[in-house]
Symmetry: C2
Subunit: 260 residues, 2 copies
């Protein structure tokens, strides 16, 4: 656990280590029990649910900062992480009230001067991550004391503009679902057509004709059929499929696979 002294130092001098006016918010998607979920943290100072986030170190490349922030929260490395939007239309994201609650909670009132970097206007760069739900170990930091995986259909009122951030992440995810092997980290390595079909229906929030759907994925080259079946009962042994690894690697490098 971090000490009061360290918290005070972060609040007073954090701008010497981090760039002020810019933060990163991450929407971490996981898939479980046929639900698409995101990771929410309870922020102590503000007493509400919000997205995991953090600041960019003074000399740290942006992509590296986003990776570090998600890794620190989830324990995962090498994940699918994509920038999707900068949120900066509200001149101020923090209200006087939330600053007062925060400083009181952390006993900082005497240390927070007007113009403190943490309470200045901050633009936020949104990243979304796709993770294997079962491999995540959530770590709190000194500003958060609880977490939950929340179904995207039941997101509560979040802090700041985080509901907009989630909404835009979902829209981006849906737009890219046939351009990238989105499901790669959300399904087991080998899966049946009904499994990926359910995943895509869950993400898109609508029904998809099973026959057209599988044809489309195969035509786009996102998945390939394996010479392997899974036995799930008498007379029932569906073929297994796999994401095209090269397409995935290409997507990781390029951001997007198909440009038409």
């Amino acid at each position: 656990m971090i000490s009061q002294e360290e918290v005070t130092d972060f609040v007073k001098n954090g701008h010497q280590h981090y760039l002020p006016h810019i933060s990163i918010d991450s929407v971490i998607f996981g898939y479980h029990d046929q639900q698409l979920k995101i990771l929410l943290l309870n922020w102590i100072g503000y007493n509400g649910w919000g997205l995991p986030g953090g600041f960019i170190q003074r000399r740290e490349p942006l992509g590296q900062a986003a990776n570090r922030i998600v890794r620190e929260r989830t324990g995962l490395d090498d994940l699918f992480l994509q920038q999707f939007y900068v949120f900066g239309d509200s001149p101020y994201r923090l209200t006087e009230r939330s600053i007062r609650e925060f400083t009181e909670k952390f006993d900082l009132a005497a240390d927070v001067e007007e113009g403190n970097w943490l309470f200045e206007r901050t633009l936020s760069i949104g990243y979304f991550a796709l993770v294997d739900y079962s491999k995540v170990t959530v770590t709190s930091d000194f500003f958060t004391d609880a977490h939950q995986w929340c179904d995207v259909n039941n997101i509560p009122d979040l802090l700041f503009d985080h509901n907009d951030v989630v909404e835009k992440a979902l829209t981006t995810l849906r737009q890219q679902i046939y351009h990238q092997p989105i499901g790669y980290n959300l399904l087991p390595e080998k899966f049946t057509l009904p499994e990926i079909h359910r995943l895509y229906e869950t993400i898109l929030g609508k029904e998809l004709d099973p026959r057209n759907f599988s044809k489309k994925l195969l035509t786009l080259g996102l998945i390939k059929k394996l010479d392997e079946q899974r036995s799930i009962g008498p007379h029932r042994s569906p073929y297994l499929y796999q994401f095209e690894k090269e397409a995935y690697d290409f997507a990781l490098r390029q951001g997007i696979v198909h440009t038409y």
Copy 2:
């Protein structure tokens, strides 16, 4: 023209009016003579070509700042303007040399102290705009003294990471070409199928089967056929088409039309 005093004030005290560490770079696309072009400015201080850009005022919403910056350069309002990426993987975008050249050029050496806001690490938010080439009046500012419309196939070496910015803008434009009425500001209000076909081939940099192409645009609902023909010669009077205005307005509000 702006005075030396005003330049000095901007360099010394600009951070009181603008957010430090974040800038906006704009890739302004125009279509002319079957070429897709972008607007480049010659930056006096650095003696090289770069993209039009600027800073965000302390209380100015981000989207408004992007609009203002493009309006100041082009004289155009109400344009199609879309955020596409934040560039921040190089810890520093300015070299010692470019700072020295800049300060010498503007006779600022004595005024620029270590840690001056303009030469600190700056992330850049990329926006692309689609404009009617013929309506643009380019205005220089005190850091630029010339401009050119440059074919996207012949972009010279640009300042900073601007070549990456242009590359990413082009990729985004190409990815979205069937999702948004991209051509709306690049073609006259009413156009023939061969005209939009040439535009799309130019943007994508490849040949498109004319029949499939027009079928696709009509199926997607991006354009509609008018009950109107243009006479271009004996026995030649092709039908005119128009972008679906509602789809365009929706795109302006949402950023993207089709989410599959």
